[in-house]
């Protein structure tokens, strides 16, 4: 009974942790716009957590610059177990217009298994909400598979 309750509530209160890996802040404002009254992700239980230890879903924006790569990987590593990684916008997915530049360390999927990608160069808040909802389902699935 308890396990089912935990599983169900894992789906209902995913906490986000936002990592800006050199993004142009287009996606960052869009992510925060999701929490504003207009789209209000909090009604689905989303909340921005202050530290990776308290996060379930890690949202990465920006084309993973060389400077930010080790820091992004370390922060993702510090997130406790049932976690999802969501890349927002095209930059983390492929490096977008910056691909091939000497200071870009390529798509995030080269280093970490990316669960959900929300495409769009600055995806619409609705798209972000869909992405996060999908990530929450994956989170629930991962929680179900945990020991």
């Amino acid at each position: 009974m308890f396990k089912k309750l935990i599983e169900e509530s894992t789906g209902k209160s995913p906490w986000l942790f936002h990592i800006n890996a050199g993004s142009c802040n287009g996606c960052d404002i869009e992510l925060v716009a999701v929490l504003t009254p207009r789209y209000d992700a909090e009604r689905l239980g989303f909340k921005l957590a202050g530290s990776p230890r308290q996060a379930d879903i890690v949202v990465v924006t920006g084309p993973i610059t060389a400077q930010s790569l080790p820091r992004v990987l370390r922060t993702i590593e510090q997130v406790p177990e049932p976690r999802c990684i969501v890349t927002m916008g095209s930059c983390p997915q492929s490096g977008n217009v910056f691909r091939g530049s000497y200071s870009i360390c390529g798509p995030l999927s080269k280093y970490v298994h990316v669960d959900v990608d929300v495409a769009g160069c600055t995806p619409k808040p609705e798209a972000v909400i869909d992405g996060l909802a999908l990530a929450t389902k994956i989170l629930q699935q991962k929680r179900r598979e945990m020991k």
């Binding site: 990592i19 530290s51 080790p70 992004v72 370390r74 922060t75 590593e77 510090q78 177990e81």
Partner: protein, 641 residues
């Protein structure tokens, strides 16, 4: 009277200390022999005094012992007397326990020092001096004992003269201390001039009625003398310097025992010799001094960077509590004050021993350079936490029980007299208690938790002997905290009654009916002292409830695999278990020492900078304060008494 009857116990306790001091000088070379003599000569007096509890405390009997059996002739006391009533025994017990535990601690603590035999000699001299002061019934004898303990304390402060400031502290202590003892001497002599006797009981019978100008001067001199010994506000920098430099076991004695002897002197002076405790102005004077020293010293402690200097300032602020409570001159007040004095000796001794352990392991007590010691010294950290919790008044521990009684006493005094000043004192008392909590949170975070700097890497647990001594004190802290009812009924209330009942003290000493004959109606008989406190607090049942709740929660947690946490095993990824530094690699950054409580310090920055300049560290300034305090006391005594 057979040789071993209880009548001789007072002289035995004092003699054992001095005998021990002498024996160690003779046989001091061999370590085992030295430890055995020291152990015997500290355990003996403690045992003797404990055996007296039943007789003196419960039955209220007063033991008087005339040196050389020169009992008073007619109604004039010739010889020197030792007098043990409930008040003296209470203080004697405090002294004996503190001395015994500190001696146990110093066996292992002083190993690394050289010329250790001298240390033990001075140590036992100090103990003997204080015990003599507390038990003696003769005023000049008290002066002699004060001199002995001041000498021993000065010598012990300067024992480790390589420590920065040891010599300087010892010299300042000697200068201002001898100003104080000279005042006591002058006061004693002026009283002798009037009453032609030195015996406390006879003085207590003769003096209260007729105050001449010289008697008032004598009161002021004696009062200032004992304030110097108790390190009340104008003289508190001495204690701060002395503790900072003295070895930890000596600091236990200085803060636990010396200050109490000062308080004992003041109580004898105010409640026995001059019996002016019911004067409104006298109560105001004592409570004012107490609350000023409470608040000033705790704010100074908050601004300290050195562990032992912080503890020193705290001990003076706790003495401020005791003086405030005693100054109220109500039954509950004195009982609460004495209870707090006892608790203070216990938890302050524990804290100083913990500070000594930290010094013993890491070689420094600077809060900025320490950190994360709980991992290396878990037992010391646990014992320190018990001490810190009890000094800052966390419910189950003893600090709370006595502070709570003090709040009741001050607020009840305010209700009775209707003057809001005492309510203000309660407020100051509580704010000081929270500030004490704040400074001990600061110490806990900067010494025992947080991250460990390089220098402390090779710190390891202190030897068992030291931990055993700390364990005794911690156990006593918890016991006296859990059974306030027992402590007040058997220890503090009889002492409080004795403090008021000067009459039977005189009769016991000088023979029955003496007090009535001399003082007529004014003889203070058994006082109608109410110890009723309007508060409700039973720590045992609270602790029981807490244990049940904690047990239930732990059972639920363990069943929910609460402790199956993920801790780094060798193969795990190392990054996951590093602290979150905003993504950076975990570098050493300890938040401790000076950079805590910025909010509070910022708001009070003018006050702190003023206080910092006031404690200039120059001998002349401290002596100037002493002289100014003496002048004020004389003016007060001449006008008010």
């Amino acid at each position: 009277m057979s040789f071993l009857s209880y009548q001789h116990f007072p002289i035995f306790t004092i003699m054992l200390y001095f005998l021990g001091a002498f024996l160690i000088v003779v046989f001091g070379k061999a370590k085992a022999l030295r430890h055995a003599v020291a152990f015997l000569c500290t355990a003996g007096p403690l045992a003797l005094l404990i055996s007296l509890i039943g007789r003196v405390m419960v039955h209220g009997e007063i033991i008087s012992y005339w040196m050389g059996n020169r009992t008073p002739v007619g109604d004039y006391a010739i010889g020197i007397a030792l007098e043990v009533d409930a008040l003296s025994l209470f203080f004697g017990l405090l002294v004996a326990t503190a001395v015994f535990v500190a001696c146990l601690y110093s066996f292992r603590y002083m190993e690394r020092d050289h010329n250790v035999p001298q240390y033990y000699t001075l140590y036992l001299m100090l103990a003997g001096g204080v015990m003599g002061l507390v038990l003696s019934g003769d005023l000049f004898n008290m002066f002699i004992m004060v001199e002995i303990l001041t000498f021993a304390a000065v010598a012990l402060t300067a024992f480790r003269n390589k420590v920065t400031g040891a010599l300087e502290a010892a010299f300042k202590y000697l200068v201002v201390g001898s100003i104080g003892s000279t005042c006591i001497l002058a006061g004693t002599i002026i009283l002798y001039a009037q009453a032609r006797t030195l015996n406390l009981a006879q003085l207590a019978a003769v003096i209260p009625g007729n105050f001449g100008v010289s008697t008032k001067l004598a009161f002021a001199l004696l009062f200032i003398g004992f304030c110097t010994k108790a390190f009340i506000v104008p003289f508190h920098p001495l204690a701060a310097d002395a503790h900072g430099a003295a070895p930890a076991s000596v600091s236990v004695l200085i803060s636990g025992v010396l200050t109490k002897s000062g308080i004992y002197g003041i109580i004898r002076l105010v409640f026995f010799l001059f019996q002016t405790m019911n004067l409104g102005t006298m109560q105001f004077w004592l409570v004012f001094l107490g609350s000023v020293s409470m608040f000033v010293c705790v704010t100074m402690a908050l601004a300290q960077h050195d562990f032992k200097r912080l503890l020193a300032f705290h001990s003076i602020s706790q003495i401020g509590y005791v003086l405030t409570a005693v100054g109220l001159a109500t039954g509950l007040g004195i009982s609460a004050g004495l209870y707090h004095a006892m608790n203070h000796t216990l938890f302050k001794g524990l804290l100083f021993l913990a500070a000594g352990a930290v010094l013993h392991e890491t070689g420094t007590t600077d809060l900025g350079k320490l950190g994360g010691l709980a991992k290396k010294m878990p037992h010391t950290a646990a014992l320190f936490l018990i001490g810190a919790a009890s000094i800052s008044g966390i419910p189950p521990f003893n600090g709370f029980a006595s502070k709570w009684l003090i709040y009741q006493a001050t607020y009840q005094k305010a209700a009775e007299t209707g003057n809001i000043g005492f309510a203000l004192v309660t407020v100051i008392a509580l704010v000081t208690s929270t500030l004490t909590l704040a400074s001990f949170v600061k110490v806990t975070q900067s010494v025992f938790f947080g991250q460990m700097p390089e220098e402390c890497k090779n710190a390891k647990e202190v030897p068992f002997g030291m931990r055993f001594a700390m364990g005794i004190l911690a156990l006593l802290c918890i016991l006296t905290g859990l059974f306030p009812g027992l402590v007040t009924r058997y220890l503090t209330e009889p002492a409080a009654k004795a403090a008021f009942a000067a009459g039977n003290y005189i009769n016991a000493m000088m023979g029955q009916g003496y007090a009535e004959r001399i003082m007529g109606a004014a003889a203070p008989g058994a006082p109608a002292v109410s110890f009723a406190s309007s508060g409700v607090w039973s720590p045992l049942s609270w602790l029981l409830l807490l244990m049940i709740a904690l047990l239930a929660i732990c059972v639920v947690a363990l069943s929910g695999k609460y402790d199956k946490v993920s801790v780094r095993s060798s193969k795990e990824v190392e990054k996951k278990y590093q602290l979150f530094y905003g993504g950076e690699t975990q570098s050493f950054s300890q938040v401790g020492g000076g950079d805590l409580f910025w909010g509070f310090k910022h708001n009070w920055r003018h006050y702190f900078s003023f206080m910092h300049d006031l404690h200039s560290g120059i001998v002349n300034d401290y002596s100037l304060w002493a002289v100014v305090a003496l002048a004020l006391a004389i003016v007060y005594a001449l006008i008010v008494l």
